[in-house]
Amino acid sequence: MLELYIVLILMIIGAIIAVETKSILSSIVALGKVGLGLTIAFLILKAPDLAIVQLVVEILTLIILIRATLGRDVKYTKENQNWGVKFLSIILIIIFLIFSYNVLQSLPEFGNPILKVADYYIENGMKETGAANLVTSVILDFRAFDTLGEATVLFTAILGALAVLRKNGIKDKDTKENKGVQGD
């Protein structure tokens, strides 16, 4: 599992660069590096489904983020001068890491899962659904309610984005206000 450690450390370095770089565009590119590292980690962890989805989703995230920053006057961010906030955050994160380290001791050792639910899926998934890809058989047959909820969340998010970005309503409001001003 040495390669997994290497990929994770590279991801952590990429995340630090993404957070600390002053140039926004470099920061977005570093985020893309973290996502591609995650893709390789999924491949090492034997999850090819997730690797495909993560790869294409990462590209789309990058395009959307670059679209948000291009053409706007935000090439470089200013450094935060408020040292109190930084100090408090670092203390909070250190406490969080200490607690999480203690909690992680009680988890099963890496590589030996103790979840018994999945045994049923692995044994009977092929017989009951006829799908060779067990992940698909879980998301679309055994646990289709999850997917229904996911579809609802996706629908709501897209609807929200369209509502936030709509143009017509704002134009109407402007013209009404202008008319009102003229009328007065």
């Binding site: 789309l60 060779a132 890809n133 047959d141």
Partner: protein, 149 residues
């Protein structure tokens, strides 16, 4: 016919490579989608790849060409169709007794037409994800800053 010398979009190199590869990207997306129950992939991955292929056209040729192929109205219709199809499959499960029952014949394993409703559900999820993400990107592109008054 697409005019390569149109001033919109990127340079001629990007346009030519896009012309030659876009059909194969679309084909690969459909392959990933239809073989979701046998090989890695499925509705999510296929939907995102197909949305990316249309976004590719939009980035290379400008927004007019891409919206000619798939405009906003049709994207909205496809997205709603996907949601409706998925919930219809769920309700048709009552033929077998419960919600989301896999009521169709399972077929022979490792064949393209097998696994009952999973293939149909994959197509529904593909319509939902693909059209939704394309619609989101179109909304982000078409939004122009009006400037503060």
């Amino acid at each position: 016919m697409i005019n390569n010398r149109d001033s919109q979009g990127m340079s001629v190199i990007v346009k030519t490579i896009t012309r030659l590869t876009i059909g194969l990207i679309l084909l690969y997306g459909v392959y990933i989608l239809l073989h979701g129950h046998i090989t890695p992939g499925g509705g999510f991955a296929g939907g995102v790849i197909i949305a990316l292929s249309f976004i590719h056209i939009m980035l290379a040729f400008g927004k007019n060409v891409a919206l000619e192929k798939l405009n906003q109205t049709w994207s909205k219709i496809f997205e709603s169709t996907g949601a409706l199809l998925f919930i219809t499959i769920a309700f048709l499960g009552f033929f077998g007794g419960v919600f989301f029952n896999n009521f169709l014949d399972k077929g022979e394993h490792f064949e393209l037409f097998s696994a009952g409703t999973i293939l149909l559900s994959n197509i529904a999820i593909f319509l939902k994800v693909g059209a939704g993400l394309f619609l989101l990107f179109v909304a982000l592109v078409l939004f122009k800053i009006g400037g503060r008054k």
